[in-house]
Symmetry: C2
DNA sequence: CGATTCTATAACATCGGATTTATTTAACAG
DNA sequence: CTGTTAAATAAATCCGATGTTATAGAATCG
């Protein structure tokens, strides 16, 4: 697992790039065109970060460089999350929140009832 | 969903804090002590980032502030990942990688055979 | 070959995040 | 109320990531 997959995903633009690549390879230029506010070298750098994080694959074709999703990096993130998934899928989490709220209310009543 | 959960998770220290909080609430001081290389205010700021990302909950008790996991933020990350999960759980991804490798080898033979 | 197209890299500016020291707020104990 | 402990905020610094312009590299076409 690439240790910086989280860092790569921390940028919204890069997440959007991945969304564009969902099941559909696209050229670097195509991806750049999807973000008019970012220069061509800017997109190229984003793609490099994604590449080095193992999140995309690149393949030369004709004059283009075609990028596609490579889920290794995402699988690493998913593996980290997996530890917690059972936690919120059980309703333990919500239950604790509820108990916390009750306890807080008990310890600090809303009205000026107790001196 | 807190939009900056990804950003919060991009820092390794914060991920380790979440690991420490797995099913076990801990005080701010306890968490700080687990990272001797980080100052008290430094940890406090990390905790704030986690709080604002909806990843932890805090509860005052005695003189301490007890932090615990709050999976809302993680669930948001998980929801984003979910879109891709089916993709790598099927072996479509590995298959494509294989085909890419074959195609690349065909288009660009290893030896300096062709002028 | 020379021109053109597509993309990556270099060099540089800038902005934000991480960290630190110093200070403040909050909750108690005496 | 005074002092003490726990934790958050303020202010300043530092470093890395993002973004830009300019340039280089790679493939293709005429």
């Amino acid at each position: 697992m690439a240790p910086d997959a989280f860092a790569a995903l921390s940028d919204p633009t890069r997440r959007q790039v991945l969304d564009l690549l969902y099941r559909k390879e696209r050229s670097a230029g195509e991806l750049g065109a999807a973000f008019p506010s970012i220069s061509q070298p800017g997109m190229s750098r984003h793609l490099r970060v994604l590449r080095e994080a193992g999140l995309v694959r690149v393949r030369p074709e004709h004059r283009l460089r075609l990028y596609s999703l490579r889920t290794e990096g995402l699988a690493g993130v998913d593996a980290w999350l997996a530890k917690y998934r059972g936690f919120w899928e059980s309703e333990l989490d919500a239950l604790e929140a509820h108990l916390d709220a009750r306890r807080a209310a008990r310890e600090r009543p809303p009205g000026p009832r107790s001196p």
